[in-house]
């Protein structure tokens, strides 16, 4: 708890049930959680709050998940924020585009919140 207490995770998804489930899971694990409902809000919040990790949906109004991640790469202060992409199962994203955006982790919906928490810990270098 103590080493995750200060970590902030920003979640961006236009589906509120995903936001609710993921933020509850992460809050219960001791993280501070911020929620954004579209790509533009996600980018603004990320630039302002400088979270330790971004979890972003691919399909969102405004910017999509890869665009949000790419824009963060261009920011001096946010370029090293790791990101996890949520994508729909069976929707094949171009691997090169994903790599280009700097996103190294993906999980496809429907995902297991438990597995997502595992990825979050991995991304932040927290031993499970």
């Amino acid at each position: 708890m103590s080493d995750t207490a200060q970590k902030t995770v920003l979640i961006a998804d236009d589906e509120s049930h995903i936001l609710n489930v993921v933020s509850l899971k992460l809050k219960n694990a001791g993280f501070r959680v911020l929620c954004a409902r579209d790509g533009n809000e996600a980018l603004e919040m990320a630039l302002a709050e400088k979270p330790d990790l971004l979890i972003t949906d691919y399909h969102m109004p405004g910017l999509n998940g890869l665009e949000v991640a790419s824009r963060l790469r261009q920011s001096e202060t946010c370029r090293n924020i790791p990101a996890i992409l949520l994508s729909a199962r069976g929707y094949n994203l171009n691997e090169a585009d994903v790599r280009e955006s700097g996103i190294r982790m993906q999980i496809s919906k429907p995902f297991s919140p438990r597995n997502l928490l595992g990825l979050v810990n991995e991304a932040l270098g927290i031993a499970a």
């Binding site: 609710n20 489930v21 933020s23 509850l24 429907p110 995902f111 919140p113 597995n115």
Partner: protein
């Protein structure tokens, strides 16, 4: 925070025994509102009926401090009915140096009334004060009602999110499991993986899986996880669960094992959930969860386990059908090659040996495992075209005439024609057609050379020639293995693909000797033995056809 005078949780009670506990959310909202009111010179508290028309007070200590004993004493002897006239109206009254507005009780406040209090002002200002306090109390009350509703709603959202999160886990588990159901996977392996996954999601201490129920000496009840049962208990439990599930054919939930018929496992297990794995009406087995951590098994648990059991049933049925089909195809192939080999007593077992040798070379050359299995099949079928060659030619002792040799050469094209229209083996046709081509281009039927010759055909050629040399023929005795190997070496690069010849020569002589001597009664190939758990009745096809 603990020292703050507005802390309702550390309430200063009036009266002898305060029985009423305030809801934690209500306390928090009251404290927050009280803090703001204090800046306006007013206090907020709650009072209720302690019984016998006496007043019970839950009053923040600040009021007690400020108004002092006088106010405190002021409540003594005051009758509850004189303050609260009706449940729904705001009532004003005067007590000692305080003016009070008693509000209707809030939800979750156990009948306690919020009370707004302020020091009594000069008499001339009194009328205004009373009116202002009523307005303020109305706003305060509305705010408290609204906050409590919000608190309740967020609690509900949280609870729904929790449930939804569990559903996500379940859906993702079922996705994952169905993804792992490939027909060529071993059912047992599949079920072991399944147990590990389910244990995490269902939050149970152990899982058990039973298959092939009722078989004599059945020890297939396998338990994984943190449950250790002695062998005889496992056996008894397996039989009992089977009996109950066979009768009921629905989930069996036991949350009190001590008072159930499974009392004998109570030293090891406290709760149990068992569901049947069915194929149509036939009980194939059971999946059992032991000891849900920190809770009883619910209908949601049994539903999840049932849907997994249903999927498992479908998976086992498919695996059974796949195994049956595989057995059938392989059985037909074996009978076909037996028919070919039977035309010539001297070549008995030749197809089988070529199949084994060719596969061995392919494995040695580190070709993919799936390809090695196709090589085996092609080996079995490579001479199938000999069905169309007269027996007088096949069995002729001594040298063939030019015309007879042409007839003999036809077997590769006849074989290709026979197999061309069988979907399961059409990929083997090039191997069959070209297995008499030579690496230097002097073979038949198309005089292909080098890598123009399909890899399959180059493999078959090598295995075919080697077995021909080491078998007795109508026209000569078998050559010793060592001599035949030297012959392969000598013809490497002319007759044979030199890389494959090297692979072949790298196989130890004893391995090759074991392989060619193992063929006699035509063994059942490994691929047919695979999912033995499933269909005892249909797997008999193979030995029958092969015999």
């Amino acid at each position: 925070m603990a020292d703050h005078p507005d802390n309702f949780a550390s309430k200063a009670s009036y009266g002898t025994d305060s029985k009423t506990e305030l809801d934690a959310d209500l306390c928090r909202e009251l404290e927050q509102t009280a803090r703001q009111l204090r800046t306006a010179g007013a206090w907020l508290g709650v009072i209720g009926n302690a019984g016998n028309d006496q007043i019970e007070i839950d009053w923040r200590s600040a009021v007690v401090d400020s108004i002092n004993q006088q106010a405190d004493d002021g409540f003594k002897g005051v009758r509850w009915s004189s303050i609260v006239t009706t449940e729904r109206l705001f009532t004003t009254c005067q007590l000692g140096l305080l003016r009070l507005v008693v509000m209707p009780p809030l939800e979750r406040s156990s009948g306690m009334h919020p009370v707004l209090a302020a020091p009594l002002q000069h008499e001339t200002a009194g009328v205004h004060q009373e009116r202002d306090m009523l307005v303020l109390a109305g706003l305060v009350h509305a705010r408290l009602v609204e906050s409590l509703r919000n608190v309740a709603l967020s609690a509900e959202v949280e609870s729904l999110s929790m449930q939804l999160g569990n559903s996500y886990e379940e859906v993702s588990l079922i996705y994952h499991l169905s993804g792992g159901m490939t027909v060529n996977q071993q059912p047992k392996r599949y079920l072991q993986d399944l147990c590990l996954e389910v244990m995490q999601v269902a939050n149970v201490r152990g899982m058990g899986v039973m298959l092939q129920l009722g078989a004599p000496g059945d020890d297939s009840f396998e338990i994984s996880g943190d449950i250790k049962l002695p062998g005889h208990i496992v056996a008894r439990l397996g039989l009992d669960i089977t009996r109950v599930l066979r009768e009921k054919q629905v989930a069996m939930v036991i949350n009190q094992i001590r008072t159930s018929e499974f009392e004998y496992v109570s030293p090891f297990v406290t709760r149990m959930l068992a569901v049947p794995v069915m194929r149509q009406d036939l009980l194939l087995g059971a999946i059992v969860s032991f000891d849900k951590i920190g809770d009883e098994f619910s209908t949601a648990d049994s539903k999840l386990l049932l849907s997994i059991a249903n999927q498992t049933g479908v998976f086992l049925e498919n695996a059974g059908l796949f195994s049956d089909l595989n057995s059938l195809v392989m059985g037909l192939l074996h009978s076909l090659t037996s028919a070919v080999d039977a035309k010539d007593a001297y070549t008995c077992g030749h197809s089988q040996r070529v199949a084994l040798l060719a596969r061995q070379i392919a494995v040695q050359a580190q070709l993919p495992a799936s390809f090695c299995e196709r090589v085996y099949m092609a080996g079995l079928l490579h001479d199938v075209g000999k069905i169309g060659v007269p027996e007088t030619v096949l069995q002729k002792p001594g040298k063939l005439t030019a015309e007879e040799f042409e007839q003999m050469k036809d077997h590769v094209e006849i074989g290709a024609k026979i197999l061309r229209d069988v979907k399961q083996v059409e990929d083997l046709v090039p191997g069959v057609r070209h297995h008499h081509e030579r690496f230097d281009g002097r073979g038949y039927p198309d005089r292909l050379s080098g890598v123009q010759i399909p890899l399959l055909a180059r493999l078959l050629c090598l295995a075919d020639c080697f077995d021909a040399m080491t078998s007795n023929r109508t026209y000569r005795k078998a050559l010793p293995i060592e001599v035949a190997r030297m012959e392969i070496q000598r013809c490497s690069g002319t007759q044979f693909d030199p890389e494959l010849a090297d692979s072949f020569l790298a196989i130890p002589v004893e391995v090759i000797r074991d392989t060619i001597t193992s063929v006699g009664e035509m063994p059942i190939p490994e691929t047919l033995r695979a999912p033995a758990a499933i269909s005892a009745e249909t797997s008999n096809i193979v030995p029958l056809l092969a015999a």
